[in-house]
Amino acid sequence: MNKELTREERTDALGGMGCKRKRVEDARFTQGKGNYVDDIQLPGMLQGDFVRSPYAHARVKSIDSSAAMALDGVIAVLTAEDLAPLGLHWMPTLAGDKQMVLADGKVLFQGQEVAFVVAKDRYIAADAVELVEVDYEELPVLTDPFAAMESDVVLREDLLGDGGSLPDGAHGPRKHPNHIFTWEVGEKDATEQVLDEADVVAEETVYYHRTHPCPLETCGCVASMDKVNGKLTLHGTFQAPHAIRTVVSLISGIEEHNIRVISPDIGGGFGNKVGAYPGYVCSVVASIVTGVPVKWVEDRMENLMTTAFARDYHMTGKISATKEGKITGLHCHVTADHGGFDACADPTKFPAGFMNICTGSYDIPTAYLAVDGVYTNKAPGGVSYRCSFRVTEAAYFIERMVEVLAIELSMDAAELRRINFIKKEQFPYQSALGWEYDSGDYHTAWDKALKAVDYDGLRAEQAQRVEEFKAGKTRKLMGVGLTHFTEIVGAGPVKNCDILGLGMFDSCEIRIHPTGSAIARLGTISQGQGHATTFAQILATEIGLPADSITIEEGDTDTAPYGLGTYGSRSTPVAGAATAMAGRKIRAKAQMIAAYLLEVHDDDVEFDVDRFVIKGAPEKFKTMKEIAFAAYNQAIPGIEPGLEAVSYYDPPNMTYPFGAYVCVMDIDVDTGVTDIRRFYALDDCGTRINPMIIEGQVHGGLTEALAVALGQEIAYDDMGNVKTGTLMDFFLPTAWEVPNYETDHTVTPSPHHPIGAKGVGESPHVGGVPCFSNAVNDAFRAFGLRHTNMPHDHWRIWKTANDLGLHG
């Protein structure tokens, strides 16, 4: 026997929670051996490709595919007419609406799927797409949701009742044929009264532009129908493989046990890969029809133009306060542009997601929120791009409103926040719009952040810069962007969170092998978050076996337990909790085995890092490795052989990560060019599982925030043409534009989560967007600017400066 290790050495040897474990995923990715959907090549596989509409709104009068079919190597050209007998020309959306799989008489957005070509290879398929003749009759185009609510042009005739009546939608009454829903939260009358009676009211309209998650890998799938065994295998870029299996079963009629959905390695998701797309349905149908595998992978232009956009929220706010700056009320109305179909990915009861987190980090006693969803001739979607459901919109709204209020009150924006933060002792905190914040210590985080950046020094420097600018000594202004955000993630409790009726629990199943290694399978799926690394760390700490001896597997519905997938920062809060709970079941059984082996009562042994010891006699112990072996080779009275556990975890509440960010930006008034001099990000995600991975998530989320705030946009012209359909026009920052970030943290564990973890992947995006935007707005505050909309690209900043008369 080797020299006995110290407790600390034994802990380190596990590689458990809190250590900077290197990622187990990296070996294959750095050697080009990842397995992404487009890497899959099955024998006899065909390639699918779409004929898409060049028009944003048009009748489809006829489709002639004869020339395409005549091309050597073309197997089929599917249209809505072919899918209709199967009932598959339309499909349900996640938002309770339905969406055309292939154009059924008309098209509602540019790039809409009109016909699906199946051919022997991608080149023939692309040639055939060009040969399909579609006769369109153009219709008036509505790209503005406010105009759509006034227009006589009906986008969705399919939703009209008899005699043109207006039946209720999935979320209640509709006011106009182009209206989808109204969602109200909070107290309308009380809020209006508070606003009427307030010392000060600040009003502003804040538009959060349409953008797109744009993961580097586009969406795609390979459908393979095995007609001999009646089994369908569907590989795809799915952030929620189990939900996809259920949806495929419901709409195709294939029994769920005969469907195997596999999400292989996924090249980033950020919300884009949550939904179900026509490409998946067409590939499945094509494989059923042809009896061979069919692959469909969208190109970048198709990705940007057609699969799940994000945001497009027109938010009008009123915020009231006392003369001293104590906020008394908040009123928010949103006109939400959902495009041609309502394909938002939100829990059923939340048609505007968790927009009602828009009271932010502040103790606002009275509030009211109303959201109107509207159809337009734009692509459907409305997913949460690197955020929990609509939380980025909410955080951006409140963090802009607080800045506008500070201007109205002639107060410092940092001080205004400080006097309105929910206090540590108020948690759990009941918000005016219905949430129970689990834990927080905002003042500590805020003070730490302001001290780290020498906030007072920055303001003094900024004031001096303004003087120099006015004196003609410089053409550069300086902005100090502040943000304190509160997220709501980890959806969610089954009592109020479901998608298509599926409760949003998650799961983990663990099998301990006789030699003391293990495999754990989860209902989630990593898209770069490093689950194989971090979930093994949770288990290592919980069950006392080294993380390096634990395989984590996700994404195969035949083997993994049912779960709702990875988005909305729900993996750690929900599946991470399931992992810990399943680990504790393993430990409970291990305790009984240890007691038997040590010949004492169960209560006389206790867990100690990697073993069970006899209480008071730690030299007498059985390691988890020994216990694992015993579970398989000893007949223990009253205990079944084996060492396995499953946990389905229904979280009692959401988790509420928060953070304090500061951005220091220099702006060239004559060119509109921004230079981020400094970015400080303090995140509190509760218990920290792997600091290296957390830091990586923060860097990435901030960079996606920089992109959105400073230029990334899905823009349309008045005809509904997408103006930003390639990476030439759609801004993805490179290493050249991105600064180095300073990361910091506090730790306020979630009181209801088994390990106290809250989730972090989306925090930097949620907090980063308002922080960058606030910096731009703040730079011009001394010159009378209240608010200017994102994206703050060079042109818009130049225009802002010009409108303020700063160009002389």
Binding site: K22, R28, L216, T218, H699, T726, A735
Partner: protein, 164 residues
């Protein structure tokens, strides 16, 4: 449309001969014909760099090179840069410094970085950022990619010095 021509390429040290349409894109030749699936397709317009390979000693984006343009070329993909028993310093360094997340950009990143360090063995941070600006990453924010490349450069230079 049978318009196939005979082509010859050397890919990761192995000579390959095949018939293909001249319009076939090199990235498809590599990925689908020769099953070198390390380089990926992210945009098909030369912006993202996920398809970066080394062709005749230069970094190229294989999504916008016709196989006809590559005829006779010597090509190295991520698969030819190292192997499990003998990894390239950059492959180790990206893991060590958490220079990747989803891994989709990584083969192109590392292939480009290997060329960058040949062109400039002692780059500054600014030179790394400029030299890597043709490769987009959506996950990492680049901070750790830059760190990985600078660390690899130091290590390679130290090894070279030790050898001299």
């Amino acid at each position: 449309m049978s318009n196939k021509k005979h082509f010859k390429l050397t890919v990761n040290g192995e000579e390959q001969e095949f018939l293909a349409e001249p319009r076939e894109l090199l990235i498809h030749t590599l990925r689908e014909r020769l099953r070198q699936t390390g380089p990926h397709i992210g945009c098909e317009t030369s912006h993202c760099g996920a398809c970066t390979v080394t062709m005749n000693g230069k970094s190229v984006k294989a999504c916008t090179v016709f196989v006809a343009q590559a005829d006779g070329a010597d090509i190295t993909t991520i698969e030819g840069l190292g192997n499990p028993d003998n990894l390239h310093v950059l492959q180790e360094s990206f893991k060590e410094h958490h220079g990747l997340q989803c891994g989709f950009c990584t083969p192109g990143m590392i292939t480009r970085a290997s060329k960058l360090l040949e062109e400039n063995p002692t780059p500054t941070e600014e030179e790394v950022r400029f030299g890597m600006a043709g490769n987009i990453c959506r996950c990492t924010g680049y901070q750790n990619i830059v760190k990985s490349i600078l660390a690899a450069a130091s290590e390679m230079n130290a090894a070279k010095e030790a050898a001299e």
